[in-house]
């Protein structure tokens, strides 16, 4: 897994690079803004990029506009945005660019190397990844009559972790449940959201999208 980092804080770049290398992710380039990243990418295209949102020159939403430009230029590139802001509006904007192969995680998650690695793996696979914080906000906000209302508390937790890009094993570990049980919950979620007939990979994506759309 080859990844490039784009963040204007050298301190943070260095921390994340060391973290990723510790879990077997190869960091092939570091840039302080999107323009520099584009230049680096001309030589060796990585599997995924990690982007900050607030970067030079205007320190506003360069990461999001950069994500759109990168997706347009490289449709198969995984784009993981690591943001300081737990803003659903940002996450939604990013998913509108994707939704496949984009991820929105809070920077706070860098204390969990495995979580970052999993999320990178997911976006490279073409799945969406959304931070749990954002998801719980969306749950609070979603409209009244939604198929999500029929999900049990446990199923919601599973769906949230799924959206964060966790594998079934990771979800099981997190909830202290067996993989079989998790698979059962996921099947129930797909059934309640009317997604039984779709191919397995797509269903995960569609399930996450289903409630993001119902919440938006």
């Amino acid at each position: 897994m080859r990844v490039m980092l784009c963040d204007d804080s050298a301190l943070f770049r260095r921390g994340v690079a060391l973290l990723l290398e510790g879990v077997g992710v190869e960091v092939t380039g570091q840039a302080r803004d999107v323009a520099e990243l584009m230049t680096l990418m001309r030589g060796h295209l990585p599997d995924a990029v990690i982007l900050d949102i607030r970067m030079p020159p205007t320190f506003t939403d360069e990461g999001l506009t950069g994500a759109a430009a990168l997706r347009a230029a490289h449709p198969r590139l995984g784009v993981l945005v690591l943001s300081t802001y737990a803003e659903t509006a940002y996450a939604q904007r990013l998913l509108e660019i994707g939704p496949r192969g984009v991820g929105y995680l809070l920077k706070d998650r860098v204390d969990d190397a495995a979580a970052i690695r999993d999320a990178l793996a997911r976006v490279i696979e073409g799945e969406p990844v959304v931070d749990g914080e954002i998801i719980s906000r969306l749950f609070a906000r979603r409209k009244a009559a939604s198929p999500l209302d029929r999900l049990t508390e446990r199923e919601r937790s599973v769906l949230t972790l799924m959206a964060e890009g966790r594998s079934n094993q990771a979800i099981g570990r997190r909830l202290h449940l067996g993989v079989k049980t998790i698979e059962g919950h996921i099947a129930a979620i797909f059934a309640k959201l009317g997604l039984e007939s779709a191919p397995d990979d797509n269903r995960r994506v569609l399930a996450v999208l289903a409630w993001i759309q119902s919440a938006a």
Binding site: G15, L19, V23, T60, T84, D108, D112, A113, A114
Partner: protein
């Protein structure tokens, strides 16, 4: 009192003079008496007002005309006296009509020359003619009876009436000239006088034309001119009635002009401007060419130059107006006084407006500077402490990944949990200082983002705004504070947030169904926000009856940019 005496004297004398005609109920006699008494009263009123020339001339003219009416007594000295004073009344009235409103005789040489010629001819005719019918002995005063036949045999008679015609035509021409050259207030005041003068002059002229006919035909009796059509002789005695009426109208007009000055003060648009004051002066002084200069006036141009002085004695402006207004000092002075008030008001008003605008601008700038400063602090937090803590988080993540020791992992987990709390608190702190996302996602999304973290359903209706960051940030904080209060203190179960632009005004309202009873406390969060809203030219209103829910409303008068 004097006027009453004059009126009684004129009435008594007139009754006596016209009595023989009056007893027969002649309309002409009644008209003559009424007209001349009215003239005498007008004269009396002018005397009471201190206008000696006009007053004396009017009274004298009235008595002269009444004396001329002694033709009603064709015996003794009466015909001679009546014949002699025949032109005096008309000459005196002509003098008044050509002079008024000046205090000196106008067209002096014409008036004196014409008067002398007419009187000489008149006297010559009166002295050389025997008014008794032909063949009868001469009457009373006719000392030198050269002629006792019809008018055709009296050269002085013809000369006299021809002279009267010439003078009447000339006087009419002068009246027309005056009417055409009069300006402004004077013109407005004198229009009835000019009209009456013209009618009077024309009546004299028509009678003279009819009177001169016997000189050429030799027919008729000059003392009882039966050949003169009744309409002409009636007009000649009725015309003087117009004159008091005309002067009454002029007096009313003059009062109205003075009253119009009072309207000047109230009639000037608020706030007054130089233009509105100039227009009001033009109206009040009836001079459409009047000019108002607030700076130095241009060089003299023959017009009246007046200075408007302020209450401190300093010059406020100069006025250039028609020179005839010199005579209407009372009206002009009052008008300038009113104009001075208005101009001074206008100046104070604009000074005040400017100062108010400066204060408002500086308050808005302070708020904007505050917003900019908060933005800088937020960015420092974001770039500094936050990045350092995040790097620490990454280090903890590495430590967790490399350490196989469960005790170490447990400690690392503890540290990670603390760090996440710290980061979350730092994020909230930074957002409370300056909501950086506001500029990116707009007020609606930023408020939505706050609302979604709250445990109460919140309806949000926020229209797109045309406003600057200071306004938007202030509204954001007002809404956040209202939401916090609604949940924490009012225990609201439903909250509605709306922001809309109405007639160029931004109205933001947060309404809840909670306990109510909230107040803007000194030093409270809302009070601080009220100050910021005020500084941006707006108001913050709180309506919160006990048990009646709370409505907090911010109105920002104008979108502040920058």
């Amino acid at each position: 009192m004097r006027t009453l005496l004059i009126a009684v004297a004129a009435l008594g004398y007139g009754l006596w003079a016209v009595w023989p005609d009056f007893a027969h109920g002649t309309a002409a006699a009644i008209l003559l008496l009424t007209g001349q008494v009215a003239l005498a009263v007008t004269g009396g009123l002018f005397l009471a007002e201190g206008r000696r020339l006009v007053g004396v001339l009017f009274v004298a003219a009235a008595f002269a005309e009444l004396t001329a009416a002694l033709t009603s007594r064709p015996w003794g000295w009466h015909p001679f006296v009546a014949g002699t004073v025949r032109p005096v009344g008309a000459l005196l009235l002509m003098t008044v009509l050509l002079s008024y409103p000046h205090r000196r005789v106008g067209y002096r040489s014409f008036v004196l020359g014409a008067g002398a010629l007419v009187l000489t001819a008149d006297l010559a005719d009166a002295l050389t003619w025997n008014p008794a019918p032909p063949g009868r002995p001469p009457v009373g005063f006719a000392w030198i009876t050269l002629y006792d036949g019809g008018p055709g045999q009296r050269p002085a008679y013809g000369v006299y009436w021809l002279l009267v015609i010439a003078v009447a035509v000339a006087a009419l021409a002068l009246v027309v000239h005056r009417a055409l050259t009069a300006r402004g207030l004077e013109r407005r005041e004198l229009v009835p006088v000019f009209f009456a003068s013209a009618v009077y002059g024309f009546a004299i002229l028509s009678r003279a034309v009819w009177m001169v006919i016997p000189y050429f035909t030799g027919e008729g009796d000059p003392l009882a001119p039966a050949h003169v059509p009744e309409v002409v002789s009636i007009s000649a005695v009725a015309a003087p009635l117009l004159i008091p009426a005309a002067f009454l109208a002029a007096a009313v007009r003059r009062r109205l002009d003075r009253a119009a000055v009072a309207d000047l003060v109230t009639g000037i648009a608020r706030p007054a401007t130089v233009e509105s004051v100039r227009e009001a002066l033009r109206r009040a002084l009836a001079d459409p060419g009047l000019e108002l200069f607030t700076g130095d006036p241009p060089g003299a141009d023959g017009r009246l130059d007046l200075q408007i002085t302020g209450s401190t004695g300093g010059p406020l402006a100069h006025v250039r107006t028609a020179p005839e207004l010199r005579r209407r000092g009372d009206v002009v002075e009052a008008a300038l006084g009113a104009a001075a008030l208005s101009l001074e008001n206008a100046r104070l008003h604009s000074d005040l407006q400017r100062q108010l605008r400066q204060v408002e601008d500086s308050r808005a700038r302070i708020v904007e500077a505050g917003v900019a400063e908060r933005r800088r602090v937020e960015r420092d937090l974001h770039d500094g402490a936050q990045q350092r803590l995040l790097a620490l988080a990454a280090t903890l993540g590495r430590l967790n990944a490399v350490s196989g020791d469960p005790a170490v992992r447990e400690l690392v987990d503890e540290a990670r949990a603390d760090l996440r709390t710290a980061l979350s608190e730092l994020r909230d702190l930074a957002r409370g200082i300056h909501p950086a996302v506001l500029e990116q996602i707009g007020l609606a999304a930023a408020v939505g983002s706050v609302a979604e973290a709250l445990p109460v359903p919140i309806e949000i209706r926020i229209a797109p705004l045309e406003s600057g960051p200071a306004t938007e940030t202030t509204l954001y904080f007002v809404i956040c504070e209202a939401l916090t209060n609604a949940i924490k203190h009012a225990e609201a179960r439903r909250i509605t947030v709306s922001v809309a632009q109405e007639h160029g005004e931004i109205v933001a309202a947060v309404v809840d169904d909670g306990r109510g009873g909230a107040a803007l406390r000194q030093g409270g969060g809302l009070a601080g926000l009220a100050d910021r809203v005020n500084a941006l030219g707006g108001v913050l209103r709180l309506h919160s009856p006990p048990q009646g829910g709370t409505r907090l409303e911010a109105r920002l008068a104008r979108p502040v940019s920058g």
